[in-house]
């Protein structure tokens, strides 16, 4: 079994210095542990101008690190897609979002579409499937809920911060490990004018309970922030759904009203 872990050029949320992304280090741990059961090997892949402190991933249990070298601002997706297709990996793991870059979390979806692979988001744990060639994924849902899914490999899985903590760093392993540089594919960066700044957690949108509601309702409104503010549509027509989403985004001020 061949496993790839995608590593992005992260930044420390406070110091702003280049740093590995914790959730990707957690992905390495899941990969290493599942690889040990399946007898697989794990490769880290990074596309970008330089590795920087990503070589530290070698100290967190990663055995091999491949650097797809791109000059400057370049879209990493084509390089990664090509390397992943060429490597014929059974399992591709990525963090649910990077940290300090665009951190949109869209790259795994782009890759899954390019490679024609199923994608499962937010794995907190991985296990062997009973049937050969399948993988059990424990998906982390909101408020601590979990869902078990079974997926036929190959597949792309993103990892959730609820996964086990990264393997502790071993300096000597990082020093001994080596990385292999390969030329990446140059592709213009999709949006060359992103502003880079240190990560900060976003404020939660707290829904307000109607005046005069019970204490329980107010508590629920304050704690169930993420679910607040929308309408629940069951099985709507696509046009109606799109309208509804746009209206919601407009209400949040994320789309300018036209």
């Amino acid at each position: 079994m061949k496993i790839a872990v995608l590593l992005s050029a992260g930044r420390h949320p406070v110091s702003g210095r280049p740093a590995p992304v914790p959730v990707e280090l957690q992905a390495i741990r899941l990969a290493v542990e599942i690889g040990r059961q399946f007898g697989g090997d794990v490769t880290g892949l990074h596309a970008g101008p330089e590795l920087g402190p990503l070589t530290d991933a070698l100290g967190h249990g990663l055995a091999r690190l491949v650097h797809l070298h791109n000059e400057g601002e370049s879209d990493p997706a084509p390089s990664l897609a090509a390397a992943l297709a060429e490597g014929a990996y059974d399992l591709i793991l990525a963090g649910r979002a990077g940290q300090g870059g665009e951190d949109s979390g869209l790259l795994p979806y782009t890759l899954a579409r390019t490679l024609g692979l199923p994608i499962i988001a937010d794995a907190a744990a991985l296990a062997l499937g009973e049937a050969p060639g399948t993988l059990g994924v424990e998906q982390a849902l909101a408020r601590g809920a979990r869902r078990r899914l079974l997926v036929r490999l190959p597949a792309l899985v993103t990892v959730h911060p609820a996964a086990p903590a990264p393997l502790p760093f071993a300096f000597a392993a990082a020093r001994r490990g080596s990385s292999e540089a390969r030329p990446g594919r140059h592709a213009p960066a999709p949006s060359p004018t992103v502003e880079e700044r240190p990560y900060r957690p976003r404020p939660k949108l707290i829904a307000k309970a109607a005046a005069g509601s019970t204490a329980l309702e107010r508590l629920r409104a304050a704690t169930e922030a993420a679910s607040g503010g929308g309408r629940l549509l069951v099985d709507p027509a696509p046009e109606e759904a799109a309208r509804e989403i746009l209206a919601h985004l407009r209400a949040l001020g994320l789309v300018t009203a036209r």
Binding site: H12, P13, V14, S15, R17, A19, P22, P53, D56, G59, H60, G61, A165, P166, L167, P168, F169, A170, F171, A172, A173, R175
Partner: protein
């Protein structure tokens, strides 16, 4: 000379040969260790002084043991040497000579009796049993027997049958003693002498504290110690020198708290690992409290740490690096160095740090701060005070190193007090502000030498850009790193602790101190200030200027007990039965003091964490500020006048 005396001399010769052969066999095992640079000539020349002055200074803390050892060891060596010299006809023919020999044997016998009285009928818990419990009997047999033979010879054979009995005892006891040289109690004699000659920290004998850790070569093929061969050979000699007196065990805070660490057992496990096919079965002292199960097998080439080896990792991570064991050890063994070497391998090679220690080490790697907090917010505690930045001034008389305590709300109060005092005394000082990184103490004690060295170099680089004559800090851990450990990386600074500095200011009359009418006070010495740096007087002098009655705790000064906050122990958080700060606080309460004065952010945090009825905890800086404010106030007007 009688026939008997001649046979006694022969016995001693046989003992010597046997002991020599066994000692040589043991010493050959030391050769598996790494090479070390040793000044043999200087060591040999210094041996008598190191033994008679330095060792006896420690042994003498227990006057009974000191007398016992002087009689037993002095008597044994003296009597045996005399009896051996008896083969020289000129001496052996003299009755007076044999009287002298008998006297020496009598001294040794008295020493042996003291050994016995200490162990019998009930052996104190800190002493080992097993082969060690045999010692008084062997000593009694040999020295008592020798005495009879010498007396018989002195009297010209008048005690004939008794003399033969004596010889039989001497042969049994003497050869028995010689057999104890390889793995028994007598090993400390030759290994101890060799250890004094080849001691890894010779500075300790020259009046230095010599407590800084040796830097690790990060390019070495293997980092830290995994097997017994990874220790330098003079360290192996040190392990073999242990006499299992248990003084370290009594001093160890982790042992007292019921955590699975006993420094004596640790040294014994290391010494046992030297033997091919080693097991820990022969050890007969107190165990690791709440010992985690280990296989207890080892030997050269085999791992030392692990559930399948000799020492459980929890044992290693229980240590607070307080050096109390080192301070108490009469054989001058360096326990903390050994623990650190083992930790370095666990951390750097295996990444096997305790679960909760991984996160702070990671934050240190990418944010230079174990809590992952912004370096800019280090000065937040001083909101409202003017804190001059050295980057703005370029130079200052005194550079104030804030340390990790600055992020702690409680300790922020201490630092505010210190800064207020500096301002009142018109000291020209400045801070590094966001340019101050963690000093690396935590990383180093947790075995992460790579992070420590990176931080040390970065801090040295920063410091080199500014001009200042001294570094002032309230954190003894930072003080120790900056003063003693940065030197190896090219940073030599004069570093002064705030207690010494405030004492200087007070002595120079730059602080006007009023008398505090506080209750009695007791002072808790921080390990990294007292034991590591020998600074025990300045804080006491300063406290005495405040006009409060000061009482000493049961353990104080260089022999003080740790608060449990050092060595990364709070983040390693190994479970025990009690908490170390609770034990220490109980000692403080026992003095009847209403205030425990502290001088370290760790001590402050650990002791403030003690719950229940207890003395208040105040840093000395806070107390000094109170006294200054007391002096500054004009006497209050009577209440009526206000109406």
């Amino acid at each position: 000379m009688t026939e008997l005396a001649f046979l006694l001399s022969l016995t001693i010769l046989a003992m010597l040969l046997l002991a020599g052969a066994l000692a040589a066999r043991r010493a050959r095992l030391w050769r598996v260790g790494r090479a070390a640079k040793i000044d043999w000539a200087a060591g040999l020349l210094a041996l008598p002084r190191r033994y008679l002055v330095d060792v006896h200074h420690i042994v003498g803390r227990d006057p009974y043991a000191a007398r016992m050892h002087a009689l037993a060891a002095g008597g044994l060596l003296g009597a045996s040497a005399l009896a051996l010299l008896g083969v020289i006809p000129l001496l052996g023919g003299s009755r007076l000579f044999w009287w002298l020999t008998a006297l020496a044997f009598a001294f040794a016998f008295a020493g042996g009796a003291m050994v016995g009285r200490r162990r019998l009928p009930v052996k104190p818990a800190r002493l080992s049993g097993g082969r060690f419990q045999l010692l008084p009997f062997l000593l009694a047999a040999y020295t008592g027997g020798g005495f009879l033979v010498a007396l018989d010879t002195a009297l010209g054979g008048a005690l004939y049958p008794l003399g033969w009995l004596g010889l039989a005892c001497a042969v049994l006891g003497g050869l028995g003693l010689a057999c104890q040289i390889e793995r028994g109690p007598m090993r400390h004699a030759f290994a101890g002498a060799a250890h004094l000659v080849a001691h890894p920290r010779p500075g300790r004998f020259g009046g230095e504290r010599a407590t800084g850790l040796a830097p690790l070569d990060l390019d070495a093929p293997r980092l830290g110690a995994a097997t017994i061969e990874d220790f330098a050979f003079n360290r192996l000699i040190g392990f073999d020198a242990c006499i299992q007196c248990g003084r370290c065990e009594v001093a160890c805070p982790a042992f007292a708290a019921g955590q699975p660490l006993n420094p004596k057992r640790l040294i014994q496990d290391l010494a046992a690992s030297l033997q091919p096919g080693a097991t820990n079965a022969a050890y007969a002292g107190s165990p690791y409290p709440n010992a985690r199960p280990v296989a207890g097998i080892g030997g050269p080439g085999l791992p030392i740490v692990g559930a399948g080896a000799m020492i459980h990792p929890d044992t290693l991570w229980s240590c607070t690096t307080c050096r109390a064991c080192v301070e108490e050890c009469p054989m001058m063994i360096e326990h903390v160095d050994a623990i650190l070497d083992l930790r370095r391998f666990q951390t750097l090679e295996l990444g096997a740090v305790p679960a909760r220690a991984a996160a702070p080490l990671m934050e240190l790697r990418y944010a230079d701060e174990p809590g992952g907090r912004a370096l800019t917010s280090r000065t937040d505690f001083a909101a409202g005070l003017t804190l001059p930045l050295i980057s703005a001034k370029g130079e200052a008389q005194v550079l104030l190193w804030l340390g990790e305590g600055a992020y702690d709300l409680r300790y922020g109060r201490t630092l505010r007090a210190l800064i207020t005092l500096l301002q009142k005394a018109k000291v020209d000082f400045a801070v590094l502000g966001e340019e101050e990184r963690d000093c690396g103490d935590l990383a180093r004690r947790l075995g992460d030498e790579a992070t420590f060295q990176r931080l040390a170099r970065a801090n040295i680089e920063t410091l080199s850009r500014y001009r200042f004559s001294r570094i002032l800090t309230a954190d003894p851990h930072a003080l120790h790193a900056l003063r003693n450990e940065y030197r190896d990386f090219g940073g030599a600074y004069e570093v002064v602790h705030h207690t010494a500095f405030l004492d200087e200011l007070a002595a120079a009359g730059r602080l006007d101190l009023g008398a505090l009418d506080a209750p009695r006070i007791t002072y808790h010495d921080p390990c990294y200030l007292g034991r590591y740096n020998g600074e025990v007087d300045a804080p006491r002098r300063l406290l005495d200027r405040l006009g409060i009655e000061r009482r000493e705790m049961e353990r104080s000064g260089k022999r003080s007990m740790c608060c449990g906050g050092g060595g990364g122990a709070p983040v390693s958080d190994i479970e025990g039965e009690r908490r170390i700060p609770d034990i220490r606080m109980a000692q403080a309460s026992a003095t009847g003091a209403g205030i425990v004065a502290v001088a370290c952010p760790q001590c402050s945090a650990m002791l403030e964490g003690v719950t229940g009825e207890r003395p208040a905890v105040h840093d000395i800086a806070e107390l000094v500020l109170m006294a200054v404010e007391k002096a500054g106030t004009t006497p209050a007007r009577p209440a009526e006048a206000l109406v």
